[in-house]
């Protein structure tokens, strides 16, 4: 009986290929959109998470301006001085390590190869605070840092792009207008979402101040990174640093902070709430397209109801029972919508494999969303394909035959 229903349903599909195609297309569009959007959205979230994990867990950052992110670089906001760094290190309990940072986008040249890279001047604590480890060579020494020696530790991307197969250790590298010797290569942190963390060169702060870009004032520290000692409440640390900095900057109680202190958890929350919002938005868009696909299917089915009702009349007259007719329609609707669902999922898989590398997120097959989209598409097929047939199959055969 079920085999029969299959045979009859397949003949019916073959008979109405145009209608079948449109139905399947509606499901394909919906399923592809939903699966692609959700998969890429989750890939982005995962990328952001891993980037944050690479930052270090007990990291506290001090930056000029309000908030973090691109807005922080607002003009006219005073940077920090080295005495700020010393004051924090000496006056705030619970600071395990502290590193001043000064970063600049500079041109770098090795032999024929040239490219622009973010160059950071800092102290050796920086490596520990930001969880950098070495792939090759060494970090610069305490002595080199205080002398302002022209030594550089380069990121993996810089090594690949500038040196290619050559061993960079000991080579001279041109940064800006000065020559630096490479002493170490950082272990890769990988492509983690926004930007390449390995596209970096780290030099002693003193070397940066003396040799690169000249020193216009003592206020040339653009960021202070601090790692909290184990067991220290980072909220307490943040409020203590805030109080100290307000005092050092002579801010009155009615003035807002012109700097910001935040820890990795806050970054994580902000970033993940924005990616969550993006994912929600994309999912909503995708859900709408699934709905539009469903409405398309409904439209096709309603338009064909007249023809189908007469067809049902013929079948009933010939001796089919209402139940057999309904089975046929159910099988037909299910076949079409699952075909659409499977094609949609495959298409989404293909689309994700192409798009994920383009937007630099990792692409993981998500069984759950695929299942949901598939079940939804099947449900759409059943509801819109099957419901009109239900009414017709209940008619007396002559009423179905007479249907105009």
């Amino acid at each position: 009986m079920l085999a029969n229903a299959f045979l009859i349903a397949l003949r019916e599909i073959r008979r109405n290929l145009g209608r079948a195609f449109l139905t399947v297309l509606g499901v394909i569009i919906g399923v592809t959109a939903v699966v692609t959007m959700v998969t890429l959205g989750q890939g982005t979230t995962m990328a952001v998470k891993s980037k944050i994990e690479n930052l270090g867990s007990n990291l506290v950052m001090l930056r000029p301006g309000a908030g973090f992110g691109p807005r922080a670089a607002a003009a006219g906001v005073p940077n920090f001085t080295e005495s700020d760094v010393i004051a924090i290190a000496e006056q705030i309990p619970g600071v395990a390590a502290i590193a001043p940072l000064r970063s600049n986008m500079l041109s770098t040249i090795y032999l024929q190869q040239a490219r622009n890279t973010t160059v950071t001047g800092t102290t050796i604590d920086y490596f520990a605070i930001n969880k950098w480890s070495l792939a090759d060579g060494r970090f610069f020494s305490e002595d080199e840092a205080s002398r302002g020696a022209a030594v550089a530790v380069i990121g993996n991307t810089v090594r690949d792009e500038l040196f290619g197969p050559d061993d960079p250790i000991g080579r001279k590298l041109r940064i800006g207008s000065a020559s630096f010797q490479v002493v170490g290569v950082l272990a890769s942190k990988g492509q983690a979402g926004m930007g390449d963390q390995d596209d970096t060169i780290v030099v002693p702060l003193t070397a940066m101040q003396r040799r690169l870009g000249g020193r216009s004032s003592a206020r040339d520290i653009s960021q202070i990174s601090i790692s909290a000692a184990d067991g220290v409440d980072s909220n307490l640390l943040i409020s203590e640093i805030t109080a100290l900095m307000r005092q050092r900057r002579n801010l009155q109680s009615n003035q807002d902070d012109n700097f910001s202190v935040f820890d990795t958890r806050q970054i994580a929350e902000t970033l993940s709430s924005s990616t969550r919002m993006m994912t929600t938005l994309l999912t909503a868009v995708a859900a709408v397209s699934l709905l539009v696909g469903g409405i398309g299917i409904m439209n096709i089915m309603l338009v064909s109801v007249t023809e189908r009702t007469r067809e049902i009349g013929i079948r009933l007259a010939i001796g089919a029972t209402a139940r057999e007719v309904l089975w046929q329609f159910l099988v037909e609707a299910l076949t079409l919508s699952s075909a659409g669902g499977v094609i949609g999922i495959l298409l989404a898989f293909a689309l994700c494999s192409v798009l994920a590398p383009m937007i630099e997120v990792s692409f993981a097959f998500n069984l759950q969303i695929n299942l949901i989209a598939f079940i939804f598409s099947a449900a759409v097929g059943i509801v819109f394909g099957f419901a009109p047939a239900r009414r017709a199959a209940r008619l007396d055969p002559i009423d179905a035959l007479r249907h105009e």
Partner: protein, 246 residues
């Protein structure tokens, strides 16, 4: 006129009637708006008869035909088909009665569009659960019997009106029904094609003993039948069998 009605010496009532309607009424609509299309039909038909139903337009011929063919339900009265009380059957049982005993031919052919003649004829066999190989050979046989061998792959739009009606007849007889119901089977056909179809029906009646009930407007068509009843305003006004002395 000879018919395969059988032995004229059989007395009425001594032979079991295939179809036995008593006081059948059919009301369309409800209450005051209701219209009584059949107002008390008594009709007995024996196995193997070829009956023509005639009468003016709107007299209730199709209504009667649909009740006889179990396509519609009576409002009151009783209807026995081969001893089965049809008015007591549920929808599924009526479907099964149609499936195993009745065949239909319509004025508008009612074939499935975009479907080959062979698959159209196979349709009743599908619902009977006939296996693939047998299904195909039975359907080919039925098409050959109506003179359409070689047209198995043609869809309705690739066939003439007469050929489409032959496919419909093949579909109706492929499952060896006891009774064939035909509502104006030649209503859409020209006179030459009409003669062909009528010869085919006569042949089926005589050679296979299929009981045929047919609605028609044309005397030439009715002339093929062994018995003619005239319907008027929802009542049987004349019955050639009674005139013949029954």
């Amino acid at each position: 006129m000879t018919t395969s009605r059988g032995n004229r010496d059989d007395l009425p009532g001594t032979q079991q009637l295939l179809i036995d309607m008593q006081g059948v009424r059919k009301v369309y609509g409800q209450g005051d708006a209701g219209f009584e299309a059949l107002r008390g039909i008594d009709l007995g038909i024996r196995q193997g008869e070829f009956l023509a139903i005639m009468g003016p337009s709107g007299s209730g011929k199709s209504t009667l035909m649909n009740l006889l063919g179990c396509l519609d339900r009576l409002s009151s009265g009783s209807y026995r088909y081969a001893g089965i009380a049809v008015e007591r059957l549920n929808a599924v049982q009526r479907s099964l009665l149609r499936r195993y005993h009745l065949g239909f031919i319509f004025q508008g052919f009612n074939l499935l569009e975009r479907t080959s003649a062979l698959e159209n004829v196979e349709l009743p066999l599908l619902y009977r659960g006939v296996k693939r190989a047998q299904r195909s050979s039975m359907a080919r046989g039925a098409l050959a019997a109506v003179g359409l061998a070689g047209k198995e792959a043609n869809s309705p739009s690739e066939l003439s009106g007469g050929q489409q009606q032959r496919v419909a007849i093949a579909r109706a007889i492929v499952s060896n029904p006891t009774t064939l119901f035909a509502d104006e089977p030649t209503g859409n056909l020209d006179s030459v094609t009409t003669a062909e179809i009528m010869n085919l029906l006569t042949h089926l009646n005589r050679e296979r003993g299929i009981t045929i009930l047919m609605v028609t407007h044309e005397d030439d068509v009715a002339a093929h039948a062994g018995r003619t009843i005239h319907v008027m305003d929802g009542l049987i006004e004349r019955d050639s069998a009674r005139n013949a002395g029954f």
